[in-house]
Amino acid sequence: MALTAIAFYAFAAILLASAVMVISAKNPVHSVLFLILAFFNAAGLFVLIGAEFVAMILVIVYVGAVAVLFLFVVMMLDINFQELRHGFLQYLPIGGIVGLVLAVELVLLVGVRFSAPGAASQGVTPTPEAVTNTEALGRIMYTDYVYAFQASGLILLVAMIGAIVLTLRHRTGVRRQSISQQLDRKRGDVLAVRKVPSRGGV
C-alpha cells in the first residue's frame, strides 16, 4: 500500500510540475515534450486506480499520435514566440476566470463525496466485479449505448470529411504516377528490337 501511495504522489507531482512547465517553457518544443510527460503521468494515475485500458488508450492515442502531430507542427513553425507573449497580461483575467471556474467545479465534485456519501456508489466504478475493465467498457459502448456511440463515430467521420474537403485542391499541370498503368505495360508497347545494318543506322 505504501508503494502505491508513493507512486501516486510521484505521478501526481510530476504531472502538475510538467503541466506548469507546458505553459511556462520558453521553447515551444519543450512545451510539447512536457505535455507528453504530463500525458504519461496521467496514464500512470489511471493504472493506479485500476483503469488500465483507459491508460493504454491515453498513451496510444494522445502520446503516440496526437502529440506527434503537435510536435511536427511546432517544429516546422517559424514564429517569434517572444512576440506572442506580449498579450499575456491582456488575456490573464479571462484565463484566470476560466481556471477559477474549473477549480470551483472540481471542489464541488470532491465535496459531493462528503455531503452525500451514497452518491459515490451510484457513480461509475473503474473496476466492476468479475469482468476486466476492457470488457466492461466494451459492454457499455457496444451493447448498452451502441447507437449513441455509433452516432458520435459518424460525427467524427463527417468532421474528417469536412477537413479533407476544406484542404483538398486539384492542381493542374502535375504529372502523377499511375501504378496500374505502369504495370499494365507490355513489352511490345515500349520496346522494339531492330536489326541494325552495319554503317546503316536506324
Partner: protein, 335 residues
C-alpha cells in the same frame, strides 16, 4: 534451492528477473549484428567478419569497445538536454517493452491484462527518440531524417493496429499469454495469412529497416537522424534499433507463430522447452529481416506513403470486417 529463492524479498526477485531478461537480450543484440553481417556476406558471396576471435565471433564486442572509446561530440548549435535525452529514450523504450513478452508458459515478467495494448503503446512511443534527435541536432539532414521517420512510423502504426485487432477478435483477450494459448490448434499465420504478411511488412517500416530505411537513407541524407551523434550516444541508438528489431520479431512470433508452442504437439518436438521454440522462431523472423535487406532496393518516399495509406490501410480494414463477419456467421467467437 527453491526455498532459499523464496526468502529473497520480492523487489530483489524482480530485479533478478529483469537482469535475466536484459543481459541475454543485450548479448543477443550484439550477436544479431554479427548474424546480419555474416548472413548478408554469404548472400553476396563474401566472407564477412572473420578475423576477431573464432569465425569473427568477437567482432561485435570489438566494435562496442571501439565505440565506447570515442569522444562524445555535441554540436555547438544543438539543444543539449534534448540531444542527450533522445538516445536514452530510444534505448529505454526498446528495453521496457520486454516486460510483457511471454517467453514460455507462465514465464513473463508482468502478466498484465492489456499486454498487447502496452506493447502497441510502447512501440508507438519509439518515434519520439528519433524526432527529438532530428530536431535537437540542429542540422538539416538530421531534421529531414527525423521528419521522414515520424511520418513513416505514424502511418504504418495504423495498419499494425488493425492487424492486432484482427488477432484479438480470434483470441478474445488482450493478454499475450492468452494469445499464445489460443494458437494451440493452429497458428494464426495460417488462417490470417494475409494479415501476417501485412504485419511483417509494417514491422519492417516501423523499425526503419530496408527496404523502408529512408530515415537514414545514406545516399540522400548522409545518415538521417543520427548524423550528429557519436560514441555512446550513437551506440544507444544502434542498440535501441536492433533491440526493436528483436522485439518486432518477438511480437510476430507471439501474434502469428504460436509463441512458445511447438509446431505440432508430438513426442520429439514437445520435449524441447518452450523458450527454445520462442527463440528459434525469433531467429527465423530476424533471418527474414536480414534476407529482405540483402535482397530489396530502397523504396521511394511517396511510394512508401502510398503503400501504407492506400494499400495496407483499406486492405487490413476489409480483413477486420471479414474476420469479424466470419467469426459471427459461424459462431466461432471465443467464449
Amino acid at each position: 534451492m527453491l526455498e532459499l529463492w523464496n526468502q529473497v524479498p520480492p523487489v530483489l526477485q524482480t530485479v533478478v528477473y529483469i537482469l535475466v531478461i536484459i543481459v541475454p537480450l543485450l548479448v543477443g543484440m550484439a550477436m544479431l549484428t554479427y548474424f546480419e553481417r555474416k548472413v548478408m556476406a554469404s548472400m553476396q558471396l563474401r566472407q564477412g567478419p572473420a578475423l576477431v576471435g573464432p569465425f569473427g565471433l568477437l567482432q561485435p564486442f570489438a566494435d562496442g569497445i571501439k565505440l565506447l572509446g570515442k569522444e562524445t561530440v555535441i554540436p555547438a548549435g544543438a539543444n543539449r538536454v534534448v540531444f542527450v535525452a533522445a538516445p536514452m529514450l530510444t534505448f529505454f523504450l526498446a528495453l521496457v517493452a520486454w516486460a510483457v513478452i511471454p517467453f514460455g508458459e507462465g514465464m513473463v515478467l508482468a502478466d498484465i491484462n492489456v499486454g498487447i495494448l502496452y506493447l502497441f503503446a510502447i512501440s508507438s512511443l519509439g518515434v519520439y527518440g528519433i524526432i527529438m534527435a532530428g530536431w535537437a541536432s540542429n542540422s538539416k539532414y538530421a531534421f529531414l531524417g527525423g521528419l521522414r521517420s515520424a511520418a513513416q512510423m505514424v502511418s504504418y502504426e495504423v495498419s499494425i493496429g488493425l492487424v492486432i485487432i484482427t488477432v484479438l477478435l480470434c483470441v478474445g483477450s488482450l493478454n499475450l499469454s492468452d494469445v499464445v494459448e489460443a494458437q494451440r490448434t493452429v497458428w494464426f499465420c495460417i488462417p490470417l495469412f494475409p494479415m501476417f504478411i501485412v504485419f511483417f511488412i509494417s514491422a519492417l517500416a516501423e523499425t526503419n529497416r530496408a527496404p523502408f530505411d529512408l530515415p537514414e537513407g545514406e545516399s540522400e541524407l548522409v545518415g538521417g537522424y543520427n548524423v550528429e551523434y557519436s560514441s555512446m550516444t550513437f551506440a544507444l541508438f544502434f542498440l535501441g534499433e536492433y533491440i526493436n528489431m528483436i522485439l518486432m520479431s518477438g511480437m510476430t512470433t507471439v501474434l502469428f507463430l504460436g509463441g512458445w508452442l511447438p509446431p505440432v504437439d508430438v513426442a520429439p518436438l514437445n520435449w524441447i522447452p518452450g523458450p527454445i521454440w520462442f527463440v528459434l522462431k525469433i531467429i527465423f523472423c530476424l533471418f527474414v529481416f536480414v534476407w529482405v535487406r540483402a535482397t530489396l532496393p530502397r523504396y521511394r518516399y511517396d511510394q512508401l506513403m502510398r503503400l501504407g495509406w492506400k494499400v495496407f490501410l483499406p486492405f487490413s480494414l476489409i480483413w477486420v470486417v471479414l474476420t469479424a463477419g466470419v467469426l459471427v456467421a459461424f459462431d466461432w467467437l471465443p467464449k
